[in-house]
Every structure is written in C-alpha cells, then in structure tokens.
Symmetry: C2
Subunit: 221 residues, 2 copies
DNA sequence: TGTACATCAGTGAACGCGCGTTCACTGATGTAC
DNA sequence: TGTACATCAGTGAACGCGCGTTCACTGATGTAC
C-alpha cells in the first residue's frame, strides 16, 4: 500500500535522501493516500489538502492529475470496481465451472473484497460522487462488475423448477442485495462482535451464500 | 415534518408574525432540520450551523439542547431506531401470528422504513457517530430493534428440518444482511432504475423476502 | 556530445468561505410571597 | 392581584481552523539540431 512507486529510472537519478522536485508517480501516490484517509475518516472526511499533505506534496499539486476533489474520489471508486471485477472473475475461474459453484464463489469474493478493502468499498457505494454519469469510465467499470453477478445468475437458470418469483432482474437484485448487505454490515462495523477472525468471516460468508442460493433454487434457477 | 411544534400556550401568547425570543420546541425543530439536511447532503454534509440557520436560530442555540454536533446526530439516529422498531412491531401485529408471516412482515417493514426514511437510515448506519458506546440510549434503541429480527428467526426455528448451517446467530445475520442490503441499495440510489414506484418496491421487497425465507427453510427453521 | 528550448510537474502564497465551539449577554418565563 | 427575582433559552460576536481552488512562478525533463 505505502510502497514507493517511483520509477526505477527516477530512483537511479536521485540520491534517496534528497527530495525530488518531480515525484515520479504522484497519481498513484494520491490514490493510495486517499484510500488511507478514507480508512481513517470515512469518504466525506477526506480533504484534498490532507491527501496532498499525506503524499508530501503541495496543495495545488493534485490538480495536475485530477479535475478536483470529486475527480480524485471518482478515480478511487473506478479502481475499486475494476479490482472487484477481477476478484470475482478470479474466484469464478478457480471453480469447476458449475453454475452453483460459480455463484457461491462470486458471492464470497464480493464479501471478502469489501472486508479487505473497506475504503474502496465505501467510496464505490457512498454518496460522495454525486452523479456517476459525469464520470463515464466509472460508470462503465461499475456496470462491468454488476454484469458478472447477473451472468452468474443467468447461468444458473433452470426453467424446469417451479414456484416463487422468476423475474431474472429481481432475482439478480435478491442475490446482489444479500452479498451487498453482508458486505455493508461488515464494512460499517455492525458485525464486529461476529467476525473477529478470517475463519469466522468465511463461515459467515458461506452460510449467507448458502442461504441465498437455496432460496434462489426455488425460483426457476 | 415541518409542522410547527410550538405549544398551544406559546401560540396564544404571540401574534403569529412576530418572531418569538423563545422558540417553543427547538429540540424537535433541530432534529427535523438535521433530517432535512441529511436528505440533501448526506450525513457528513450536515453542519450544526446550517441546522441552526435552517431552524431560524443563532449558531449557539443548539448547545442548549445537544452536547454538540455528534450529540445531535446521535439523537437523530436514536429516534430512527425507535421508529424502525415500532414499524416492525406494527407490521408484525397485522399478521395472523404465524412465524413465517411475521418474518416476511418484518423484512418488508425494514426495507420500507429505509425507503421512506433514507435520512434516518443513513445516520443510523453511517460512520458519523464514531463510537456508539458513548451514547448509551442510542445503543439501547439499536439493540431493541435488532432483537425483533432475532426473535422472529427464533420463532421460526423448526429443529426437525435438516441440512445447511443451523447456528442461530449466523442465520439471524443472513436474514438481517438481506434486508439491510436491499435497504442500503435503495437508499444509496443503486436501484433507481428498478424501484420507480411503490408497486415495484413491493414486488421487489416480497421477492427478496421470499428468497431469503426459502433459503432459511432449509436450515433448521 | 553539447546546447537551446519547449513542455511538464511541481511550488507556495493567496482568495474567500463555512465550520464547531465559547463567551458574556439579555429577554422571556414562571414562581414565591 | 401585583411584584421581585431566579431560572431558562435564546443572542451575536469572536476565536482559530482547515477547506477547495486559483495564480504566477520555477525547477526538472527530454528532445531537436
């Protein structure tokens, strides 16, 4: 996280003690700093000045890389959605390819992503970015991540089963809501009594994913 | 919401045009103002000065009624938990008393509360109140509300069924996470495409509650 | 290889602003006699 | 019923602060010749 991201070229040029005028990879450093501050204060507590200070740079420097405060947060969120997408894809790939296994892997990946990256998660779903449509690449990243869940549901579809709601969009939302709810409760610390360890998180994640999968099994899936 | 809460005695005393030195029910007015501002800006965007301004009162006046900004927000949250509890109880009371019906009624009441009172919901679960244990009456209100869900789950318990996780606490969390997830997605506007109308909200609420109930039916409930 | 120069990524001072909280105060209220 | 007075719920000015953003600037970089 706080690893120096200076290019090796930059490292060769400078003696390590001396502060460089050019940072090397300020954009990356600002994103990391923003994440660190979200962790401490929550998304609304982030100030651009503090992020710059944290990165060891003047208050005006971030404007070379982002349109402003909201631009920085949108970039953080976008990065988060991309990471979430790749985690879900990876989890999917580790299964035997059965629809059920994929579904469970995706749900658990979603929850684990939130638990391991609470700052990202908060920015991704928080109210700080007032209008996502003003950040098209963010919107795109977010859509691609949702699509994975929707696809997994579609893949589970078994029209031979009966009973319950069969509207695929509502079933998608049911699944998403469950993953998202557990993720949110964890990130907001509402379950700190119940998820002290990784093992407990896993037990809980599996249990919840089980329940929702079984619920969906009745609904034409 | 913005109804005047002056006591009738106060109204008798003053001609309506004249600004009273004493407000009459400033505490109530400040809570309402805070809610209105959360609606617009999110919980972190609330400022005590703006709340006072909104209530037509000087910046120092709120300190007669609350310890400070966090005190005000804690009072808002506490009020929210009490309202949620009473909604869930009322919804429960309208059923025929069967465990299943109660469970569904409670879940739907939870989601509808969030959809109708997004400001309250955000403050109740947001990170603004850094440490709930510093506000004992808030904690108490929150615990009483959770207990209703936990009790409903316990009432559903049917030890004759087999399969799946049977830890009651994890099952409680599964149910809560699902209700909470749907509520959160709605409040954060993630589902604005899907829940334009009350009818759609009801369909979705029922669908999700169904899914989770059916999932739980497999788990010793 | 050396040099002139355009471009880029920073600086740091300054702007106007709204914030939370404290303070001495004052006007209204209600109660004891 | 009238009045003195304690209490209460407000006022408004002031404090020090950190914020987002703009601005003219300067030092570093890399490229063309």
């Amino acid at each position: 996280m706080t690893v120096s991201n200076k290019s090796s070229a930059a490292l060769k040029r400078k003696s390590p003690g001396k502060r460089a005028y050019h940072h090397g990879n300020l954009r990356r450093a600002l994103l990391d700093a923003a994440l660190a501050m979200v962790e401490k204060e929550g998304p609304r507590g982030v100030s651009l000045r503090a992020v710059a200070r944290f990165a060891g740079v003047s208050p005006a420097a971030p404007y070379r890389h982002f349109a402003g405060k909201e631009g920085l947060l949108a970039a953080v969120a976008e990065e988060g959605f991309r990471a979430l997408e790749s985690k879900m894809r990876a989890a999917c790939g580790e299964t035997d390819g059965l629809a059920l296994a994929e579904f469970r892997a995706i749900g658990y990946a979603y929850v684990r992503f939130a638990a391991s990256n609470p700052s990202h998660f908060r920015v991704m779903f928080g109210p700080e970015i007032s209008d996502k449509s003003e950040h098209p690449s963010l919107r795109e990243a977010s859509d691609k991540a949702s699509q994975i869940i929707a696809d997994a549901i579609a893949k589970c579809q078994r029209p031979d089963l009966e009973g319950g709601d069969t509207d695929p969009h509502r079933l998608f939302i049911s699944a998403w809501a469950t993953f998202h709810g557990l993720a949110t409760l964890i990130v907001d610390g509402q379950l700190s009594d119940s998820v002290g360890s990784d093992a407990e998180l896993e037990a809980l994640g599996n249990s919840v994913t089980d329940v929702i999968y079984r619920g969906l099994s009745f609904s034409g899936l």
